[in-house]
């Protein structure tokens, strides 16, 4: 209906800015993601990836700029955006005191999956990630890999148009990682679901993503296919391309969960004056 839907971009970001007090985390980035594309969003720690993802997923309000996701603007129609997204966060977001099935059920109700197909859909997905035989076990008895799989199953439950994966393979062994990507690619092919992910494993990005954006210091410094980035930097692997683009200096280590929470609290309080 509007201009945005006229082309085949499912995500359009223009001049997006996020400032925390005097610190600019995201500094006027613009990019598009095509419908059905697998898109990797790379960058060193503190580059602004997570902040960008938070704005895309309605968890943070941009300072300025525009986002359109699946035809919805998060500033105006949060629920429209929220319904379109499946999200697997960087940190686990399951309820450990509930069973796998109950976690799925909770999600299904919140995303208004019709009652008559709820159970069958949950079953289908738990089988898909091979957790059906553990459906009645409390999540706190699950290993890290099982939790990830459950989160992916949960993210797919309501047939999202776009799947966000924020470092989904962090801390997983190669077997689980491979498995996870085969699920995601499978759904991507079958349902034409767009996938937007971040990772620190360059070979993973190179293998899975159709297009890659590299972010550093709040800006997008390169964008293209894996091969394009390699050619552009005159390097043989994406890892080398990445290092050549972002330099060899080690960035501020990722803060602990609590630190991060404190920081969020400060940001948030700052916003409310």
């Amino acid at each position: 209906m509007n201009v945005i839907q006229a082309n085949d971009n499912i995500i359009t970001v223009s001049s997006l800015v996020k400032k925390f007090d005097d610190f600019t985390a995201v500094d006027g980035i613009s990019f598009e993601v095509k419908k059905g594309e697998i898109f990797a969003f790379l960058g060193p720690n503190g580059a602004g990836k997570s902040t960008t993802i938070k704005m895309l997923t309605t968890l943070l309000h941009p300072t300025s700029g525009q986002i359109v996701l699946n035809g919805f603007n998060p500033a105006q129609d949060k629920d429209g955006v929220r319904k379109s997204l499946g999200i697997v966060f960087q940190d686990p977001s399951l309820d450990d005191d509930l069973t796998a099935f109950e976690n799925m059920q909770f999600h299904a109700v919140c995303y208004k999956v019709p009652a008559n197909i709820r159970s069958s859909r949950v079953e289908e997905l738990l089988k898909f990630v091979e957790l059906w035989d553990r459906k009645n076990d409390l999540v706190k008895t699950f290993s890290g890999g099982m939790k990830r799989r459950l989160e992916i199953a949960r993210g797919l439950l309501h047939h999202p148009t776009i799947l966000f994966l924020d470092e989904p393979t962090l801390g997983l062994d190669p077997q689980t990682r491979n498995h996870m990507w085969s699920y995601v690619r499978d759904i991507n092919k079958k349902e034409g679901m767009t996938v937007f992910f971040t990772t620190h494993y360059m070979e993973e990005a190179d293998r899975v993503a159709e297009r890659i954006a590299v972010m550093d210091h709040g800006k997008i410094i390169a964008m293209g296919t894996g091969d394009e980035l390699k050619r552009q930097t005159n390097t043989g692997t994406l890892e080398d391309a990445f290092l050549s683009l972002t330099g060899h200096v080690i960035r501020e280590e990722e803060a602990t969960g609590l630190d991060r929470m404190r920081r969020m609290g400060q940001m948030w309080r700052g916003k409310r004056r």
């Binding site: 309820d95 450990d96 999600h107 995303y111 948030w268 409310r272």
Partner: protein
């Protein structure tokens, strides 16, 4: 002309009722979905509560201690002063106390949700923040009310006897209102906090005064003027007063109608405030 006007009429009528039905159907479905989301959040709280046996048992220690230490400790003096049986007087206060503490602690559940990441799952869901607030508050309040019932049984064992069984449901209403009020307070406060330390402060500087100044432990009659004013400003006073009225047939200090009215109004205000605060949470 007449024929032309007449013939489409039934059709139009049919269409309009059909549309009406569709609309009805749609609003029904919307309403059901709205309630479903609140229900699933409520259910989650209850499941978590019943799965933490240690929490249930642990939370009985304090009321029991209060009943024994205060109830029996001050019982003799209370009687000598001509004020009657202290256990009878104290029991409603202790029931309300445990409801207060459990209700406020719902706020801690919210902080846990934030620390363990589950809050994010809720915040990115396409549900209104009012629904989240209502679901969490109803869940927490139900848990607090159940806790109140358990402590009520405890008081019966210690020797408390309600004066009129017919008024027990009235007491239950008071207990649930107190539970709702302080759950929404706890959740509203917790939604502005990122860690437990902040909540500890609330415990010491808000919840303790609310409890001790409410008349849960002593009669509100014959107090210095300052204390009268403070007690009247303390929302818990109305809960204690209301429950005492229902359970031991005591002369209500504020009037039972006033008790209910104050509790209902404050609960509504805090629920509205809570969903406003939820709206502002940026995970």
């Amino acid at each position: 002309m007449g024929g032309m006007v007449w013939s489409p009429c039934p059709l139009l009528n049919f269409q309009s009722t059909q549309r009406h039905k569709d609309l009805n159907h749609l609003t029904n479905r919307k309403a059901r979905q709205f309630v479903n989301v609140i229900y699933i959040m409520w259910l989650r709280q209850l499941k978590k509560y019943f799965r933490s046996k240690s929490r249930i048992i642990g939370s009985l220690g304090q009321p029991l201690l209060f009943l024994l230490a205060f109830g029996f400790g001050f019982g003799a003096i209370f009687k000598k002063a001509g004020a009657g049986n202290y256990i009878q007087f104290l029991a409603p206060g202790i029931i309300i106390m445990s409801v207060l503490f459990t209700a406020i602690f719902s706020g801690i559940d919210l902080i846990w949700d934030r620390q363990f990441g589950f809050l994010k799952e809720t915040m990115v869901a396409p549900v209104s923040r009012l629904q989240i607030m209502l679901g969490k508050t109803l869940g927490g309040a139900t848990v607090a009310a159940i806790q109140g019932v358990i402590v009520f049984v405890l008081t019966l064992i210690v020797g408390f006897r309600p004066h009129d069984l017919v008024l027990l449901p009235v007491g239950a209403v008071v207990v649930f209102l107190v539970a709702l009020l302080f759950t929404s307070l706890g959740i509203s406060l917790a939604s502005t906090m990122e860690d437990m330390q902040g909540f500890q402060l609330i415990m010491n500087f808000l919840v303790m005064p609310i409890f001790f100044l409410s008349g849960a432990l002593f009669p509100l009659e014959g107090l210095p003027k300052v204390m009268d004013v403070i007690a009247a400003l303390d929302p818990l006073s109305y809960g204690v007063d209301g429950l005492r009225f229902a359970f031991i047939g005591a002369q209500s200090v504020f009037g039972f109608g006033t008790d209910l009215l104050v509790l209902v109004i404050l609960t509504t205000v805090l629920l509205a405030l809570g969903s406003r605060l939820f709206e502002r949470i940026q995970a």
